[in-house]
């Protein structure tokens, strides 16, 4: 059967084909909208347990952190860790200087070893 300029098969493939592409991607959208909710479920549970937050008060949007926020946190952590020093004893000491024997200032060598006439 010819509908307009092409046969019915062409119409079928055109419409159905595009529709299936849509369905496939809508299906993917549905799945990827659900996955964060499932992953956040455990985080919510931990928050409720540790911080005593009441059920229903945490929204999924609250758990979403934007890339900018992440970058700011990472920057702050990096700066904090860079400024840290090694742990020290807090005892300030002055090292005692030990002079070793040095012949150049020896008194012995300063004498003139001459025999006085008697």
């Amino acid at each position: 059967m010819n509908l307009l300029i092409v046969d019915s098969m062409t119409w079928t493939i055109t419409i159905l084909g595009w529709f299936i592409v849509f369905v496939a991607l809508v299906f993917l959208i549905a799945v990827f909208n659900t996955i964060p909710k499932i992953l956040n479920w455990d985080t919510k549970r931990i928050l409720r347990k540790k911080r005593g937050v009441e059920k229903g008060t945490i929204k999924n949007e609250d758990l979403i952190i934007s890339g900018e926020t992440n970058a700011a946190i990472a920057m702050a952590l990096s700066m904090y860790f860079n400024e840290l020093h090694d742990e020290e004893s807090n005892v300030i000491t002055i090292k005692e200087v030990k002079r070793r024997y040095s012949p150049w200032s020896s008194k012995v060598y300063g004498f003139n070893n001459v025999n006085f006439p008697r």
């Binding site: 098969m9 299936i20 592409v21 496939a24 991607l25 909208n33 934007s66």
Partner: protein, 419 residues
């Protein structure tokens, strides 16, 4: 002096030995052979002349046109930087494939047993496109798509170009299989176009591949006017909120779930989608960095060279310079425009249902055609033209990569309908 004379004497005796025992008669006969020798030399030269490209060019002067096309591709790639990684191998391939030669000596691409024919096997049997998809998967970051999955729908909307071209090609009198292969040009995806045309219409593959790659290279020329025509200035200024950070678990789950879902819906696209998601899993798993590195560098480069040169060489003038090729080029241009317009219009339609800061900048709809990453780059460029602080690249990558998935699914659907 005496010694020299003795030596000379010995040499002359040795030389005269050849004339002993009928040697004189043979020498006399040789004088008559000179003519024959000259004849043979003439024949040899004639045979050599018939083997040269100059002689064969007289038999098929149309090859010169294709050589000019090849040179033009190389010029475009080097001078204007239009997809040089594709146009240089394809342009050189076009020149290679159109050097006139004497047939029957296993030289040409279409002659069984020739070197080029062996390399062409990968194109004919659709081996190269999935390998390219493996590399694309290993180099693509899907996080913008995962963070805002609704943008995936734009990738589906832009596939209208494929089906509109399929319809148009059918109306122009192509067989359904040929129309399907031509339609995939609208997907703006070279490997997918080659994969589908190698299965559905091998005879048109050269024209389809050249059309697909040429228009992909011309995305920065084709898309901006359509964007300005369809999207009003006010909507081009919309700023989108930054995408959320995506966890590693989500990134790993994406290729696995994507693979399962899309291939269950369209198993015919298994070689393409399977490799795409496999490549992405190699990248995101974090434990196969060496494999991912090979897939996205060495391997994709090798396959691109082989694919480019053989697709270019497949455009021998006798097969390529036909009215069908002209029609294919015309349909290809229309399909690109329809695909771009489809994405843009759907983005505007989406905005009707979205509220507040969830509204999207409709320009990103143009990135739904899967010319990765050129169309996303064009969107970024257009966005910056209207507002120098509006960076749309990350947002545009979402419909862009979903366009790759969408066009592969569409190819699978056309295969299952038409094969």
């Amino acid at each position: 002096m005496k010694r020299i004379i003795t030596l000379f004497g010995v040499f002359s005796v040795l030389l005269s030995l050849q004339f002993i025992g009928g040697g004189f008669e043979a020498h006399a006969a040789e004088a008559g052979v000179v003519d024959q020798f000259l004849n043979n030399a003439n024949n040899g030269l004639d045979t050599f002349w018939k083997f040269t490209g100059f002689y064969n060019l007289m038999q098929s002067p149309s090859n010169l046109i294709m050589i000019a096309v090849g040179l033009f591709f190389i010029f475009l790639a080097i001078k204007y930087d239009y997809e040089p990684l594709l146009l240089v191998p394809i342009g050189t391939g076009v020149i290679l494939g159109n050097i006139p030669f004497a047939e029957g000596y296993q030289i040409g691409l279409y002659e069984e047993g020739s070197v080029l024919n062996y390399l062409y096997f990968g194109v004919q049997q659709g081996v190269y496109p999935p390998l390219i998809f493996l590399g694309i998967g290993a180099m693509t970051d899907f996080s913008s798509l995962i963070s805002n999955p609704k943008l995936m729908i734009l990738g589906a909307a832009a596939q209208v170009g494929i089906f509109a071209t399929f319809f148009g090609a059918s109306a122009l009198g192509f067989t359904p299989q040929e129309a399907g292969a031509i339609g995939i040009i609208g997907g703006a995806d070279g490997p997918t176009a080659i994969f589908l045309s190698s299965k559905l219409a091998p005879t048109l593959m050269g024209a389809i591949a050249i059309a697909a790659y040429s228009y992909m290279a011309l995305v920065p020329v084709i898309q901006p006017p359509i964007m300005r025509l369809i999207i009003p200035k006010r909507e081009r200024l919309i700023k989108m909120k930054p995408p959320r950070a995506v966890s590693k678990t989500e990134k790993i789950m994406f290729p696995i779930i994507g693979l399962l879902l899309t291939t269950f819906i369209s198993p015919s696209a298994l070689p393409l989608l399977g490799m795409l998601f496999f490549g992405n899993l190699l990248k995101e798993s974090g434990v196969t960095e060496r494999l991912a590195d090979t897939a996205r560098n060495s391997m994709i480069n090798i396959v691109t060279i082989l694919l480019g040169i053989t697709v270019g060489a497949s455009t021998q003038a006798d097969y390529f310079l036909t009215t069908d090729s002209l029609k294919i080029f015309g349909l290809g241009a229309v399909s690109f425009m329809v695909a771009t317009a489809g994405g843009l219009l759907f983005a505007r339609l989406m905005n009707v249902f979205l509220k507040g800061d969830k509204k999207i900048n409709p320009l990103i709809g143009a990135a739904g055609v899967s010319a990765v990453p050129d169309s996303a780059r064009v969107v970024q460029h257009e966005g910056l033209k209207n507002d120098p602080n509006n960076h749309l690249l990350m947002h545009a990558m979402a419909p862009n990569v979903s366009g790759v998935i969408g066009s592969a699914v569409a190819a699978g659907i056309l295969l299952s309908f038409l094969l």
